[in-house]
């Protein structure tokens, strides 16, 4: 018997995905991330941990999420069949909750009594506030002041759920700055606090554990595809902010050579203007505990991302994506704000589904891709969030006053 060279065994034992990843944190935090790794290894090997995780995903989150064939969108685009993994139907309206369930169970295992999180669009903040309410733990969410203003409904949701929302005014007052502030809180509260990071980035073991928790998306989708159509999809498509919904969909398929994958970054106003496409417009550097592609200038100063979607305007990307790009296993593209808005409206009209602006980027990419493919080919898109939170900003962009 020969063993295949699996692409699913990363990171190495130092938390590196090729040259990416790692643990670039201040000494104060280093013992904490080592502790977290030890505890995660034990949890990963503990059937009771998996049983509790699976039970909460089924009865609290509402998994498995449906796999849905989109007939009218397929017809409109006139090419490959388009299927959606409907993680927007999860409790709290996005994939973010999958990860939060896993991390809060880890926090409880570790005896932590206080939870902190960063949030951009507010989806991760809402999901964190939700699991904190569910388990009765106090929750502090750091959110850039700019995002507090453009995501007011989510701010109110977090408060209803009992979380304290701290507006962050440093830098451009968006997701990157919220993450800095959460790290500062963590450094000052090392004994009792667990930091629930919202995407597959940060110091090892976060990229690995967030990916593992989000991989429920790809595992379900793979099994659902096989049972519904008897074969694997030809292309997977997912939007990328920090990269958690996309790695969650992609990872279980990495060793299926027939399955192509496309990650969609936010091109904002255009790649030659302000954008948030770290892979297309950045280069490797070190930020927030990991080495990965970053938007930065020649001196290594970080450049703020821009996207119509608050969940995508992060100047970095999870380290596993940087590695998957360099080895060529996954293709990455980007779509502009305008294209995303068109994708958003297209899905509303053709399928009666209002998507979040983040997966609207994936839909915009599918709009270009599907017509180039045959009708018997299959595209599987991660519909990772619903658009309720975005209707105000979409209305504004369309010039409608509510």
């Amino acid at each position: 018997m020969t063993l295949i060279n699996s692409l699913r065994t990363q990171p190495d034992d130092r938390g590196h995905f090729g040259q990416f990843g790692g643990r670039y944190v201040a000494e104060t935090l280093m013992p904490l991330v080592l502790d977290l790794e030890t505890e995660y290894r034990k949890a990963k090997a503990d059937p009771a941990f998996h049983a509790e995780f699976d039970d909460l995903l089924e009865h609290y989150v509402g998994r498995p999420s449906p796999l849905y064939f989109a007939p009218r969108l397929t017809e409109e685009l006139g090419g490959a069949q388009i299927w959606f993994k409907r993680d927007e139907l999860n409790h709290t309206g996005a994939h973010k909750i999958n990860n939060c369930i896993g991390q809060i169970l880890l926090a409880i295992r570790m005896g932590k009594t206080r939870i902190i999180a960063e949030t951009g669009a507010g989806q991760h903040g809402v999901a964190t506030a939700t699991v904190c309410a569910r388990f009765g733990l106090p929750c502090v969410v750091y959110m850039g002041a700019t995002d507090v203003a453009r995501q007011a409904p989510n701010v109110f949701r977090m408060k209803l759920l009992g979380a304290e929302v701290v507006p962050v005014t440093s830098g451009a007052a968006t997701l990157k700055d919220a993450m800095n502030e959460a790290l500062r809180d963590w450094v000052a509260n090392v004994d009792d606090t667990f930091y629930i990071i919202g995407t597959a980035a940060g110091p090892h073991p976060y990229p690995e554990l967030v990916r593992d928790f989000q991989s429920v998306i790809g595992k379900e989708a793979r099994a659902q595809m096989l049972s519904r159509v008897g074969r694997l999809p030809d292309v997977l498509v997912a939007s990328i902010g920090g990269g958690s919904n996309s790695i969650g969909l992609f990872h279980p398929f990495l060793d299926d050579p027939s399955v192509k994958m496309l990650g969609v970054e936010a091109a904002g106003h255009g790649l030659d203007k302000e954008h948030a496409a770290s892979l297309a417009g950045g280069r490797p550097g070190i930020l927030h505990g990991n080495k990965t592609y970053l938007l930065q200038d020649e001196d290594g100063q970080i450049i703020e991302g821009h996207s119509i979607s608050a969940g995508l305007d992060y100047p970095g990307i999870g380290p596993e994506h940087s590695w998957l790009k360099e080895i060529g296993r996954v293709d990455y593209t980007s779509v502009t704000d305008t294209e995303a808005l068109e994708g958003f409206q297209l899905l509303c009209r053709t399928e009666g589904i209002i998507p979040a602006l983040e997966p609207a980027h994936a839909i915009a990419a599918v709009r270009k891709l599907a017509p180039t493919m045959d009708k018997d080919q299959i595209i599987l898109v991660n519909l990772c969030g619903r658009g309720d939170k975005d209707i105000f900003s979409v209305a504004e962009h369309l010039g409608v006053s509510l």
């Binding site: 670039y24 280093m30 440093s170 450094v187």
Partner: protein, 266 residues
């Protein structure tokens, strides 16, 4: 190496002073560094500004933004260092900052620039021993000291890894937290310094939250060095053109209090 040896002498506790390079402008920094030396600083730490200073409190965060807002580039920091070395041949100069600006052109490039500019040591906040290959070997090859941080969370099991490959001095971060806010209790500082000095021969300097001559004096009784940063940055932030004179007076008050404390215990 020899510059550190003369700064950390058995007969006194060294005063280590931090300012952010380019705050408020690159042109203003040389006079502020001179004021540190005139006031009695034994070691000068020059901060390299970064957009995302994750381990710093509000005072140093704002200093970083003022510096970058004034257009400070990495080349300016090395120019400031080169000028300092020419004016002060014997005062150890340490660059302190974050990994990305230090490694973006390659660690070898950075280490070579440090040598050219006469820099003695480097403190990189976000490269722990686990990621040492990113910067440590390049610095050691150039004979530049890598100054590591030990913190209240650095337990006995970890300490050898922190000490391995570090030189110049060991920087004890006395509080688990960010720069410029609370200060640790004197008793816990004394315990920690004793623990660290039992494990290493390199000098131990204590910093984070040291704001007054009184605090500096207490720490000077037990530690080989005292690090003061945010309190100096606050003077730079508020005093404008008068900053060098005010900084010099403040540093002199620290130095005097530290010397008195040592005399009393001697």
């Amino acid at each position: 190496m020899s510059r550190f040896a003369s700064a950390f002498r058995p007969d006194h506790s060294a005063l280590v002073c931090f300012v952010t390079g380019g705050d408020p402008t690159p042109d203003a920094t040389p006079a502020i560094l001179d004021a540190l030396v005139e006031g009695g600083a034994d070691v000068v730490e020059l901060g390299m500004p970064f957009t995302d200073p994750m381990a710093d409190g509000p005072a140093i965060q704002r200093a970083n933004l003022r510096s970058l807002g004034a257009g400070t580039k990495t080349a300016d920091i090395f120019a400031i260092a080169t000028g300092f070395r020419a004016r002060h041949p014997n005062v150890p100069l340490v660059l302190m900052g974050y990994a990305n600006p230090m490694t973006i052109r390659g660690a070898d490039w950075f280490a070579a620039e440090c040598t050219k500019a006469g820099v003695d040591g480097v403190i990189c906040v976000d490269i722990p021993p686990e990621e040492d290959p990113e910067l440590g070997p390049a610095l050691r090859a150039e004979g530049i000291s890598l100054i590591r941080l030990a913190t209240p969370t650095t337990d006995a099991a970890r300490l050898p890894a922190v000490l391995d490959g570090s030189s110049g001095f060991l920087y004890y971060v006395s509080v688990a937290g960010i720069t410029g806010l609370q200060q640790a209790a004197q008793a816990s500082i004394e315990d920690a310094v004793a623990r660290l000095k039992a494990a290493t021969n390199i000098p131990v300097a204590v910093g984070f939250g040291v704001r007054t001559p009184e605090q500096a004096a207490e720490i000077a009784k037990v530690a080989d060095g005292v690090v003061v940063g945010s309190a100096i940055i606050d003077i730079v932030a508020t005093e404008g053109a008068n900053a060098p004179a005010k900084v010099r007076d403040f540093v002199r008050s620290l130095r005097t209090a530290m010397d008195h404390a040592r005399e009393k215990t001697a």
